[in-house]
Assembly symmetry: C2
Homo-oligomer: 246 residues x 2
């Protein structure tokens, strides 16, 4: 991995780490948009120009933070799913993953704002970030797929013959998304019910993000007193509507 363990390379690695940590600390206190390279330079007791030896620009530093945060959140979700010993208990895997994602986000509000908040105007995320960014939703799709492979199905809405009358335009892209990311293997489904599965998982992921975003960005003050309980209720509701919980 690290071929030349010279003193200089070691120092570079340590200082890079120190810069990243300081930047993440500043992220949570000052917010992503106000991330000041000079401020982190002061934190690590260097002159601002010296930081540019380690990150060629502020955007590069942002990208590094972005990938690191995406990977941490993805690993958290994957770990929470894997922590459930009984793989057939998809309900526990579902709730556990949801709670783990929220816990991480609440503990890292600055990183959450960087990942899912207002995009920095001039900044465009490079290609390297799309793979770490999809780790959470891939976990959700996998849980739903396992549940459906084991026989679970979403509850049929009564007195409604057109419950699955969804616009056809979104089926193909979602399917392409699945195939592109190699999620087919873990999904044991026929072709006509697969897209519906993925769509519901995507909706659940959207809702998961929405409720956390509302909590962290302060849009629940006055309406929700206990965010954790409210979050659990949302997670349970999603699980019930998907047919994989209770």
């Amino acid at each position: 991995m690290s071929p030349a363990r010279t003193a200089r390379a070691l120092a570079r690695e340590a200082i890079t780490r120190e810069i990243l940590d300081s930047a993440r600390a500043r992220l949570t206190t000052d917010g992503p948009a106000a991330l000041s390279l000079r401020a982190v330079a002061r934190d690590v007791e260097m002159v601002s120009s010296a930081v540019y030896r380690y990150f060629p620009s502020r955007d590069a530093l942002l990208t590094a933070l972005l990938i690191e945060a995406y990977d941490e959140l993805g690993a958290t979700a994957e770990g929470a799913d894997a922590a459930v010993a009984d793989r057939a208990d998809t309900a526990a895997r579902w709730i556990g993953t949801f709670r783990a994602v929220r816990t991480w986000c609440v503990a890292h509000p600055g990183e959450f704002g960087l990942l899912y908040g207002t995009p920095v105007p001039g900044y465009v995320a490079p290609r390297d970030t799309v793979d770490p960014a999809t780790r959470v939703v891939r976990v959700l799709v996998r849980i739903v797929g396992d549940a459906y492979a084991a026989g679970a199905r979403p509850p049929v809405v009564p007195a409604s013959g057109t419950a699955s009358a969804a616009p056809p335009g979104t089926v193909a892209p979602a399917l392409a998304f699945i195939k592109e990311h190699g999620l087919m293997a873990s999904l044991d489904l026929s072709d006509d019910e697969l897209p519906e599965t993925v769509r519901r998982a995507l909706m659940a992921w959207t809702m998961l993000f929405g409720v956390i975003s509302f909590e962290l960005f302060g849009h629940q003050v006055g309406s929700v007193a206990d965010p954790a309980a409210w979050f659990d209720e949302v997670a349970l509701r999603l699980g019930v509507d998907l047919g994989i919980a209770v």
Copy 2:
């Protein structure tokens, strides 16, 4: 309204309007965090210090933009709901309101980022903003209330006796929220089913925000090809799960 229509007062009103319009234009091009007071000063061909005669600080300008945008979005939602002539057609009111909200947000991405994106670090929204901010969700609650008053009910999940086993902690605050905002009058419901109604409406609002946020903040690239069709599907799914559509 405007007691002294002197030339000076007229000029002040016109220039204030001009500053607000320029700021909104900059908002969509540069993003909320990068809103530069000097830039809008250049746009209206004034020196930066002169703008401070109209807005005492950049935060005050942000607050004015915030209230204006909240009111515009709220009026859009209310107008879309009111535009449906058949008040009993709650499905049409639901979809129409959803689409109108998305249309406005897509047309005003900068304002959306200001309203629902990463909060500006030092900035805290004053009390005047909470009332305009709740106009959209109030429309949703009203539609759901009308539908349930007319006899509609959410579909019962089969093979599940604990479908309403929601954590009790969130009931009281949601109810307090409803009473505080005077939504009781338009809701003709018994007490035990009211909180569930409001909770589902709040979830729908959360999902509505989530899907728009994902679209505008670029988290759907690669997975969703047609955002409008995907949005319609989500809106329909929410309506079905709530029991007010199809």
